[in-house]
């Protein structure tokens, strides 16, 4: 529907204003990125793109195509948003019915999207040296963070992990945005936790790290929690959970978080998908 630029506080006395779009967008392209991933580019209106933030997501109404009949919407991180060009990008892995249907979309088809949704990444003023650690499709979620870091003139190191060098995505993208890349792969034996810990510790000792960013993986979470605690480095993690509404209404997307000595259930779609890395709980 319509939109305003800031997300209103829900509990305040006044009425909430519409800030979330639900709209059919035209597909500009939908191409394989490598054997496992596809990039979907949609034409989006400026006022929608102006609202987008790195780390937020959209809830996509996957079409009934190719014999698939996905019912619920599918959440997808914003892979890129370009208000100047009027483009909204997603990077996705074909997993089940919904993404199989997405993969059938052709130029000119329409896709109904709802968003932007959720809380994006935080980059505090004094966080100058950022490090992101991600694997696989997690890079989709972290990619726009590189754009944002670049816009804000921060230094970003991207530790990109994959099974095989062929599957390392977004590297060029990160490089273009001036990020330093550290690729690690299973095939080359460089992606083990021990090796990663060593690489990170060297940076902490050397140039220094002001904040960590990661997503999705339990192993990376515990590693970064440990290093973060050890050196007092803050960080954020983007998490996933099954969703229905994507807006905060249904409470199906909760995960447990540590708040002091209590465990609280927070909604990934609303309080997240980005959370404080120390509050997140391994699963």
């Amino acid at each position: 529907m319509t939109s305003v630029l800031t997300r209103p506080a829900s509990a305040a006395g006044g009425r909430a204003q519409p800030v979330v779009f639900e709209r059919g967008l035209a597909v500009l392209s939908n191409d394989p990125v490598n054997g496992e991933y596809m990039r979907l580019v949609l034409a989006a209106p400026r006022e929608m793109l102006d609202l987008c933030r790195a780390g937020q997501f959209f809830n996509l109404l996957c079409p009934a195509l190719g014999g698939e009949t996905p019912y619920l919407r599918r959440p997808m991180s914003i892979y890129g948003f370009y208000p100047e060009r009027g483009e909204l990008h997603f990077l996705y892995k074909v997993a089940g019915a919904g993404t199989r249907a997405l993969a059938q979309l052709r130029e000119g088809d329409a896709l109904n999207v709802m968003g932007p949704l959720g809380q994006g990444f935080r980059i505090d003023d004094d966080w100058q040296r950022l490090v992101l650690v991600a694997r696989g499709v997690g890079l989709a979620t972290l990619a726009p963070l590189a754009l944002e870091a670049n816009r804000l003139g921060r230094h970003l190191t991207a530790i990109c992990s994959a099974r095989h060098p062929d599957l390392l995505m977004s590297i060029d993208y990160f490089r273009e945005l001036g990020a330093e890349i550290i690729p690690v792969t299973d095939a080359e034996g460089t992606s083990s936790l021990e090796h990663l810990e060593q690489v990170i510790e060297e940076r902490v000792a050397g140039p220094g790290i002001d904040a960590f960013y990661t997503c999705g993986s339990n192993r990376l979470l515990t590693l970064l929690q440990r290093i973060g605690k050890r050196h007092g480095i803050p960080g954020e993690i983007a998490l996933e959970q099954q969703m229905a509404c994507g807006l905060g209404m249904c409470h199906c997307c909760v995960r447990p978080f540590r708040k002091g000595d209590k465990t609280v259930q927070l909604r990934v779609c609303r309080e997240g998908p980005v959370f404080d890395i120390q509050e997140a709980m391994p699963w």
């Binding site: 829900s10 019912y71 099954q242 969703m243 229905a244 905060g248 249904c250 409470h251």
Partner: protein, 314 residues
């Protein structure tokens, strides 16, 4: 101009379209102006704090879904402090959904939410009654009657009793609810169901089973709405699988005075807005001046002996 307003036990709604409990919250106001709805219905709360069920809490089954959210609740005082004031900014009547595992706790909550700004109380009697065998109050007429009596005594606000489809005695339960003091019936909640992931051999829901909602539920909920309208004299609010204006019209013809839209909002967050507009256009096309002219107009005399009280198919 067609008149979309309906009356539910003395409460006038500007149109018969409202959200179903648990599928609506303040957040939907970020998508459209929720003042356009016939009523605002909040997620069921309990008196105390509750975490809700383990995840995964939803899954897809065909073109419908299962959920086992449970009733995560921040408790009644958080509700009165934060949620009720949000809705005061709207003229749309606020309907508060409550539940309890014992009749007394339930009744106590009922009186606690009887505050200014609340227009009616929806009592979710589809929840387990732990003082008996853990079956929902609304599975049997006797437990329905007993809990409704206590709830009735606890408030002067209109009481909407929300029934469960997990029963073989819908007409009897509906009558028991009316006799116990219900001012309207919400028909119905989700139907107990299950799905298994054959790769992992685990239930698709963390809670093993959950409630079916969405299009698959529609013919069942419609049958129940019809049965309830036939067997009581209080207004029936249809609920279950409604996603289009045609669905709404089907329920109104069957005898519902208003309807609730649940799962459809997850698929299409503006579903209710579209349904209101299309309902209005339909009435104009059919040259009906009021939506009330549709209610209970099913031509069913030929089936007089019918199966209103027959719970057995074929």
């Amino acid at each position: 101009m067609v008149d979309l307003s309906v009356d539910i036990a003395g409460l006038t709604l500007k149109n018969p379209i409202m959200p179903a409990s648990g599928t609506f919250s303040e957040e939907l106001a970020e998508v459209f102006d929720i003042e356009c709805l016939g009523a605002h219905v909040t997620k069921t709360i309990t008196r105390g704090l509750r975490d809700g069920n383990p995840t995964p809490r939803v899954c897809e089954v065909g073109s419908s879904m299962l959920n086992s959210i449970g009733i995560p609740s921040k408790g009644v005082s958080a509700f009165l402090d934060k949620v009720v004031p949000f809705y005061r900014a709207y003229e749309t009547p606020l309907v508060v959904s409550i539940s309890g595992n014992t009749a007394d706790e339930f009744a106590r909550l009922c009186s606690e939410v009887t505050v200014e700004g609340v227009a009616a109380i929806e009592v979710n009697i589809s929840c387990p009654n732990i003082e008996e065998d853990g079956k929902a109050f609304a599975i049997r007429p006797s437990s329905t009657y007993d809990v409704m009596r206590k709830l009735r005594a606890a408030t002067h606000l209109p009481l909407w009793a929300k029934l469960t489809p997990n029963t073989g005695e819908t007409p009897e339960v509906a009558r028991a609810a009316q006799e116990g003091g219900a001012d309207a019936l919400v028909v119905a909640n989700t139907l107990l169901a299950m799905a298994i992931d054959i790769r992992t051999r685990r239930p698709k829901l963390g809670n093993l089973m959950g409630g079916l909602s969405g299009p698959s539920l529609k013919p069942i909920a419609l049958r129940m709405a019809y049965q309830c309208a036939k067997s009581t004299t209080i207004p029936v609010i249809g609920c279950g699988g409604i996603s289009t204006a045609e669905d709404v019209i089907e329920f109104l013809i069957a005898g519902a005075t208003a309807v609730q839209v649940g799962t459809a909002t997850f698929i299409n967050p503006t579903a209710m807005v579209t349904v209101i507009a299309e309902l209005e256009r339909y009435l104009e096309r059919e040259k009906l001046s009021s939506v009330r002219d549709l209610i209970g107009t099913l031509i069913d005399e030929e089936q007089k002996e019918g199966v209103v009280f027959m719970e057995a198919a074929p």
